[in-house]
């Protein structure tokens, strides 16, 4: 009996080792890069101005966290980016649905979307400064303007493409137009709409940060460009790490929302069977 237990234990050890190796493979190069960063910077191969040691950068982030500066700045940036993204999502979905339902709305918006989608909207930043000033309003509106096109495009294509038989059978069963929209069209179009939102979210972040850099007014972007101008390279790298983490969390958050909203959908069920 002892032999069986030994074998089983060996199996567990092998499993643990394999798990450990897989974990190392998944993170090893990131950790190696971070260690290399620290050693490279400490050895002063390049000047500390160009590449400050990682530990100094982390120390700065810790200090900002304790002093309360980081939560405030991060909050400002997230507020602008998420407000812009949410408005873009609401109005984008609204316009997209209307485009699929009404010929005249579609006639009006189709050329605007087809030109506006690929154009670099960020070129309008100075225009937004002139019109709406240097504060939150113009940053949020700039973000909306940059992020709304993929949402409109995805929503219009998705609602247009909903299976006509679904709509006909709902209508046959006596559903009102409003019920058809809420119960049939939007759920059926949801996966594609969320894909549009997943394109819009990184754009919102990029544009909010550029707006903060150009207009100032604090936030992570404003602080980073300030740090760069005052040759505070530790501040610049701390900013990059903070922005990278914020971006990662937001994008993962939207992925989770997607899975939550699409629990009924094949794609989520396929994921859960893995």
């Amino acid at each position: 009996m002892a032999g069986v237990a030994d074998v089983r234990r060996q199996h567990t050890y092998a499993g643990l080792v394999r798990l450990g190796l897989r974990g190392l493979a998944a993170t090893g190069s990131v950790i190696a890069l971070l260690i290399a960063w620290e050693l490279f910077a400490r050895a002063e191969v390049v000047s500390a101005f160009l590449l400050p040691p990682l530990t100094l950068v982390l120390e700065r982030i810790g200090k900002d966290l304790i002093s309360g500066a980081l939560p405030v700045q991060l909050g400002l940036t997230l507020y602008r980016a998420v407000a812009g993204f949410t408005l873009a999502a609401l109005f984008g979905i609204l316009i997209g649905v209307l485009m699929a339902r009404s010929k005249s709305v579609s006639w009006f918006f189709d050329p605007i979307v087809s030109i506006g989608f690929p154009a670099p909207k960020i070129a309008f930043l100075p225009v937004f400064i002139l019109w709406f000033g240097l504060f939150d309003l113009s940053k949020i509106l700039m973000t909306v303007f940059a992020a709304i096109f993929p949402v409109i495009g995805a929503t219009a294509a998705a609602t247009e493409g909903v299976d006509k038989y679904l709509i006909w059978s709902a209508r046959n069963a006596g559903a009102s137009e409003g019920e058809i929209l809420w119960e049939v069209v939007l759920p059926a179009a949801m996966p594609q709409i969320i894909t549009g939102l997943q394109v819009a979210l990184p754009i919102s972040l990029i544009v909010t940060i550029v707006s903060e850099m150009v207009m100032g007014g604090e936030g992570l972007g404003g602080n980073m460009i300030g740090a760069a101008r005052f040759a505070d390279s530790v501040g610049v790298f701390a900013g990059i790490v903070q922005i990278a983490i914020a971006g990662y969390l937001l994008i993962k958050g939207l992925e989770l929302i997607r899975q939550g909203l699409l629990v009924w959908h094949q794609e989520t069920q396929q994921l859960s069977t893995f």
Partner: protein, 247 residues
Amino acid sequence: MTSVLARYAPLALIAIAWEAAPRLGVLVLPALPPFSTVVLAMGRLVIDPELYVHAGASLMREVAGLGLAVFIGVVLGIVMAWYTPVRVLFNPLVRCVYPMPKSALIPVMIMWLGIGHLSKIGLIFLGCLLPVIVSAYNAARGVETVLIWSAQSAGASRSEILREIILPASLPEIMAGVRTALALSFVLLVSSEFLMAREGLGYLIAFMGEGGIYDAMFATVLLVSAIGFLADRAYLALMRRTLAWRE
């Protein structure tokens, strides 16, 4: 022809509204010159040789940064998909950095490379590299193994398989990824020229905005948008031609 006119008629409506609003004083936005003065400014702009100095600088940065990103990104993405050591090394890095808002790199690029061409090229290169790597990697991983097996059994070498099977089969997805990178590259180009430049179209817009030359500023903004739009359309046409064999 008439269908094209009908299709783009809403833009004419917007142009008319743009002309009327400041003249009638309906829409009280500061610094909105009537559309006709913007068109006139555009006319003056396109015959001004200085525009081409700025446009040339922007074009050079765009082509160098994006070209490098596409070349290195495609190679790295495919190699990552086919050689396990390279995948183990790069995959975590790529997954970790991919969601970062690329504009966060602007201040580092100023510090490292100054305010000349190099910092914009570096920014566009780094920003566009990740979407290209990810699309090439996903494309190459998604190639049907049956295709590869049959090539192997027909005696194809590894490099032949790469050239004759993997590259053509991944081309559609790679080209779609490059289209995303193209759009991103314009955003990064214009943003960085707003913030740190002495030439380039983004710099020109910011310069004229600060100088209060609003008609020329609007003309340049429209010009940059048009360039971005036309670049996308040209790329789309190239994509359709290159991928025509699929039909």
